[in-house]
């Protein structure tokens, strides 16, 4: 494989595949500058569509809804997930089977099933006890449920890497629960907590299917907004402009992350724990 014609073919396929991954994104961005509606070929250059998107207000509104939902659910999801990981780490044994079940159900369950079963459940709850109203609340509840397992996985992995005696010592020093959380758990788990929170937040921002089925009037997040505008108007330069802004945001985050991790490697010795 390392020599000869096989390698050349393999490399050509690899390059073509990388092109395949980027082609749709390039097309979306290119056509966001296209002045004509429903054009198949590029005919000119304009920034009008971006102006329309930003002045319309609908998209910004949806963005704020996405951020509100993402931040709130990630905060609660991280809290519950971290407690779950700590508890299951301490009381290994029978709890372990429960962890496996809890952790893997939402991860392997197809999201259509997940979203629809939540929708049906909330529907019946509303009918019988008058709560909750479909909207950011039901979406948040659904998001927290799928965030908890991911957070528990990350925090648990960190706990497994810790010295068990250290964990036991914290419990033996008769600190009050609040004090031990503040003085021991938070500092020790900080990297895992930050990583969990960011993952939970990203999962929430990225989710469409579960949000779609648990949403209600007035809880239009960004992916739902884009979905709605495709359903209403089909492919338009305006949607391309929204999509391009999203792609730009992802690129920016990726660049910042690369920069930060490069700097970390450059200036700090590898962490000892």
């Amino acid at each position: 494989m390392r020599s000869g014609i096989a390698k050349k073919i393999s490399n050509a396929v690899a390059l073509a595949t990388l092109g395949f991954l980027w082609m749709p994104l390039v097309v979306v961005v290119a056509f966001s500058f296209e002045p004509e509606m429903a054009a198949v070929h590029l005919t000119g250059f304009t920034l009008d569509w971006y102006g329309k998107v930003l002045e319309g207000g609908g998209m910004l509104n949806a963005l704020f809804k996405s951020l509100e939902l993402g931040l709130t659910s990630a905060l609660i999801g991280t809290l519950f997930g971290a407690f779950l990981a700590v508890g299951l780490h301490k009381y290994r044994g029978r709890g372990f089977a429960v962890l496996a079940l809890i952790v893997y159900l939402p991860i392997v369950m197809p999201d259509v099933i997940y979203g629809i079963s939540q929708m049906v459940f909330f529907n019946y709850l509303k009918q019988f006890i008058g709560w909750p109203n479909a909207g950011l609340l039901t979406m948040g509840i659904a998001h927290i449920s799928f965030q908890i397992p991911y957070v528990a996985l990350i925090v648990y992995a960190r706990l497994v890497g810790l010295d068990r005696d250290l964990v036991n010592a914290a419990a033996d020093l008769y600190a009050s629960p609040l004090k031990s959380i503040y003085a021991f758990w938070i500092p020790v788990l900080r990297p895992a907590l930050i990583a969990s929170f960011l993952l939970a937040f990203t999962l929430s921002l990225d989710d469409f299917v579960i949000s779609f089925f648990t949403s209600g009037p007035g809880s239009v997040t960004l992916p739902i907004y884009i979905w709605g505008s495709i359903a209403k108007h089909g492919v338009t330069p305006e949607t391309n402009a929204i999509a391009s802004l999203l792609i730009g945001a992802v690129l920016l985050v990726a660049l910042i992350q690369t920069y930060l991790s490069a700097r970390r490697v450059g200036h700090l010795a590898p962490t000892s724990n």
Binding site: M1, S3, G4, N11, V13, A14, T17, L18, L21, W22, P24, L25, V28, F31, V40, L79, F80, F83, L84, V86, G87, K90, Y91, G95, I102, Y104, L105, P106, V108, M109, P110, D111, V112, I113, I116, Q118, V120, F121, Y124, I144, S145, I148, D172, P177, D206, F208, V209, F213, P223, I226, W227, I230, T239, A243, L246, I247, V250, L251, A254, T258
Partner: protein, 300 residues
């Protein structure tokens, strides 16, 4: 483990305080809804699509194709199409992922992170956006559609979208990164001494790959198959945007039972069918990965 302080009472209290909220949350908001769906499948479809008593197995008969008009293969075709599409997607992503994984592992170390980022960034973009992009690429009179017309796949002046081809394309595109990354992880820590050994035994390049390289990548391959096949089987966004009525997959059929022309018991029965296939697939995989001793692929 021996505990020196604390009675079993305080231990129980601590356990409740730590795992209680998370477990309670998931039980109420995840397990209960799933159980409810399981129950709905055995109820009767009411006049407005709402489930009513008595308990029946009508919904499952309907899944098998029986209704008041007799038998029709429609529902089974949708299930079969979902299985096929998941199969195509898995095979295509494997064939594309291996060259990419070897290519990235073969460049100098400082470029690898950049190339990995090239693979990861598209998958960070929202799935709705990624799929919607293909609506434009596969529309009539675009280069790809023209090519398909030349090859005789579709009639003149029609686009590739909406169609089964478009759904395949969208699924492969969306799930490719989830195949590349685990395979790359395996390739990166490949033991080249084993590969050299096969070469020393005068194996040709195909046999070097098959006996020296491939077995070492099985853990990554199995992990990739799980990450691709299950979501592709349960896909909703891609077939909804890129497929038409003739390219409908199980996820869309389920969703339509809960929105337009609702029939909740039928939808719930389809849900159980989807879950059954998912869990059977996972169980087969679990056995396979144990047999091949591929520790990392043990997702369950």
């Amino acid at each position: 483990m021996i505990r020196l302080n604390g009675s079993s009472y305080t231990q129980a209290l601590r356990l409740t305080a730590t795992i209680g909220p998370g477990v309670a949350w998931i039980t109420v908001f995840l397990f209960l809804p799933s159980v409810l769906m399981g129950l709905l499948a055995f109820l009767t479809n009411g006049a407005y699509g709402q489930p009513v008593m008595p308990l029946t197995t009508d919904a499952f008969k309907q899944v098998a194709g029986f209704n008041f008009l007799g038998w029709s293969p429609g529902n089974l075709q949708v299930i079969g199409r979902s299985l096929l599409q998941a199969g195509y997607t898995t095979i295509a992503t494997i064939l594309l992922a291996y060259p990419v994984a070897f290519f990235i592992a073969g460049v100098r170390e400082r470029y690898r992170a950049f190339l990995l980022l090239l693979v990861i960034i598209p998958s960070w973009t929202n799935q709705v956006v990624r799929t919607y992009a293909w609506m434009q690429l596969l529309a009539p009179d675009t280069p790809l559609s023209d090519l398909a017309v030349h090859l005789g796949l579709i009639p003149q002046h029609l686009g590739l979208y909406p169609s089964n081809y478009a759904v395949s394309m969208g699924l492969i595109y969306n799930y490719l990164p989830y195949m590349v990354l685990p395979i790359y992880a395996s390739v990166e820590k490949l033991d080249w001494r084993l590969v050299d050994a096969t070469r020393d035994l005068y194996a040709n390049s195909w046999r070097v790959f098959w006996h020296g390289v491939f077995p070492q990548t099985i853990p990554g391959l199995l992990a990739g198959i799980i990450l691709v096949a299950i979501p592709a089987f349960g896909a909703y966004i891609v077939p909804q945007l890129l497929g038409g009525d003739k390219a409908m997959m199980l996820g869309n059929l389920i969703a339509s039972q809960f929105s337009s022309l609702p029939n909740w018991p039928f939808g719930a029965a389809l849900t159980l069918v989807m879950l059954a296939f998912t869990f059977i697939g996972l169980a087969v995989f679990r056995r396979l990965s144990r047999k091949l001793n591929a520790g990392e692929a043990n997702l369950l």
